[in-house]
């Protein structure tokens, strides 16, 4: 395994740099006597866009939960700007977006967008929260839907509100677990494009869990491929395509080459790697 070889060379993995916002070292997770993740080393440079891709059951969602402080690693450690993930989350440094938008059906879009911020910061008044919620809705392109309830919004719009809710915390990092997984292909493309624009405008660090090869290459700067049984990072790929990218990037010969390369990596990641 490539990463383990690098680790063996020195006490700090060579690819973990000082400007890393997130660094996971030797993270293993055992759940119900099953090794879910084995010896994960991951570094996410500040301001970068990193995707985790892998087959179902590779533990990519679990890895994201470890980064978010929602799952404690059995071994190893994670630091987010020098803090343990739980502490970082308490300091509003982590914004979470899941596949299901999980909006509160009794609140309108603007109140949903500011809901978590209101919990995290009790000193904010109702009008402060509204203003912040409105600002975030505008950032995600839903400025004129502030007073709509979730049942009046489409799936894509609901997910935009979920992104606004995470951004309202002004987090250092956005952790996203298949945020567009439940959307149709066309909505998915436009959501990806919007996410890129939001990323470039806000300079947030983004870690995206996805099972879409196109999405990973279209959006991210670095892609890490996870293998199954146990979940581990098998390969990493830098996406050298220049930003700003739009959907026309998918026609770029380099994009096509990367798709083929990533697909090959994913195919080999399906081989269980119990040994070594």
């Amino acid at each position: 395994m490539r990463i383990e070889t690098i680790r063996a060379a020195g006490d700090r993995p060579a690819h973990i740099r000082h400007d890393d916002l997130i660094s996971a070292k030797g993270v293993s997770v055992v759940m119900a006597r099953q090794l879910i993740l084995r010896n994960i080393d991951l570094s996410v440079p500040k301001g970068s866009f990193v995707s985790l891709i892998g087959p179902s059951g590779c533990g990519k969602s679990t890895l994201l939960k470890v980064l978010a402080g929602l799952v404690q690693p059995t071994q190893g450690s994670v630091s987010i700007a020098g803090l343990a993930p739980v502490e970082a989350a308490r300091k509003r440094m982590i914004g979470l977006v899941f596949q299901d938008a999980n909006l509160l059906p009794w609140k309108n879009a603007v109140d949903n967008a500011s809901m978590l911020l209101g919990i995290a910061d009790k000193s904010l008044s109702r009008s402060d929260l509204r203003a912040r919620g409105q600002e975030m809705l505008e950032l995600v392109g839903l400025g004129d839907s502030a007073h709509k309830r979730p049942n009046e919004l489409s799936g894509g719009m609901r997910q935009r509100v979920a992104i606004a809710r995470a951004l309202a915390l002004d987090p250092a990092v956005l952790l996203m677990d298949e945020p567009f997984g439940a959307l149709d292909a066309i909505t998915r493309d436009s959501m990806g494009q919007s996410l890129l624009e939001i990323w470039q405008r806000t300079g947030k660090t983004i870690v995206l869990v996805t099972h879409s090869i196109d999405e990973a290459i279209h959006l991210s700067r670095h892609v890490h491929v996870l293998g199954i049984k146990p979940g581990r990072i098998t390969e990493s790929l830098d996406i050298a395509l220049p930003y700003p990218r739009d959907l026309s990037v998918t026609e770029d010969p380099e994009f096509v080459r990367l798709v083929v390369q990533l697909r090959t990596m994913l195919r080999s990641s399906h081989q269980p790697g119990g040994a070594s």
């Binding site: 939960k65 978010a68 402080g69 929602l70 989350a89 308490r90 509003r92 982590i94 979470l96 899941f98 299901d100 999980n102 509160l104 059906p105 009794w106 809901m115 978590l116 919990i119 995290a120 309830r149 979730p150 049942n151 009046e152 489409s154 719009m157 915390l169």
Partner: protein
């Protein structure tokens, strides 16, 4: 998303929903009328004695003749139902909140509540009369033990079905259990709670009548018992009719309440 619809679908959709509404009501009304006519005819043709089955016309006559007494009794029973229902809802909600908020207390309380649900509560009526006398208190007590359970159970189901990832979001920003309870679990449980409340409204009517059967000097249940000892079956039926009207009224009141409290519930959403 905000494009003008090319074809306006609102007109035919409205028309079809109107015809659907009348279409769903009309057969029931016709069947009811046919039944009443056949009933009247059968009683007359077979000369059935009025104290076994009174003809609808006899019931109507009795209803008019005893109107004052019946209205007074209806008011008493309606008061018992309303009061008992409100107490049941408040107690039902309180038990559900305690079970969810205080884990160990919940684990102690929940099995007992379920166990108590299997007690035939109608059989408690004589005991309540013994303890609380013939007034309002035993009726309220009986309605409470009969009607709180669906409230508690439905609210618990609603509070416990909050999505795990939503709880993860709340936990990640350090929300306290109380915040999660009142900001997420309680509002999330309201559609379920309102469904349980409708059941409680129906059960409250049963509780009030059973309470009056067991011992009362007023109310529709008392009228039914008194009239049956007098073999005034027409009056029994007249009182029964009013009990049914009360039941329907309380049910629809609960339904209107539901629309006011949870206009955002999935069953009311247009799309």
């Amino acid at each position: 998303m905000s494009d003008q619809p090319i074809i306006d679908l609102s007109e035919p959709r409205l028309a079809s929903s109107w015809s659907a509404a009348t279409g769903s009501w009309l057969p029931a009304v016709i069947l009811l009328l046919v039944t009443i006519v056949l009933w009247e005819a059968a009683v007359r043709i077979f000369a059935i004695s009025a104290f076994i089955i009174p003809a609808p016309s006899e019931i109507a006559k009795s209803l008019v003749a005893q109107w004052g007494t019946l209205m007074q009794a209806t008011l008493v029973t309606a008061g018992e139902i309303l009061f008992g229902f409100l107490v049941s809802v408040v107690v039902g909600i309180a038990i559900a909140l305690v079970i969810v908020r205080f884990d160990w207390l919940g684990r102690a309380l929940y099995p007992l509540v379920v166990l108590f649900q299997n007690v035939p509560k109608v059989a408690l009526a004589p005991i309540f009369i013994l303890w609380f006398g013939y007034g309002l208190a035993p009726k309220i007590g009986l309605i409470l033990v009969i009607a709180f359970f669906p409230v508690t159970l439905s609210m618990l189901a609603g509070m416990q079905s909050v999505d795990r990832s939503l709880l993860s979001l709340m936990n990640s920003v350090g929300a306290s259990p109380t915040q999660i309870l009142f900001r997420i679990r309680v509002p999330h449980s309201l559609p379920n709670l309102m469904a349980g409340t409708k059941i409680a409204a129906t059960l409250s009517v049963i509780g009030a009548i059973v309470g009056e059967f067991a011992g009362a000097s007023d109310g529709l249940g008392y009228v039914i018992q008194f009239a049956s000892t007098q073999l005034d079956t027409a009056l029994v039926f007249a009182a029964l009719l009013l009990v049914s009207v009360l039941g329907i009224a309380f049910y629809y009141a609960a339904e209107i309440l539901e629309r006011i409290v949870v206009p955002w519930a999935p069953k009311f959403s247009q799309s």
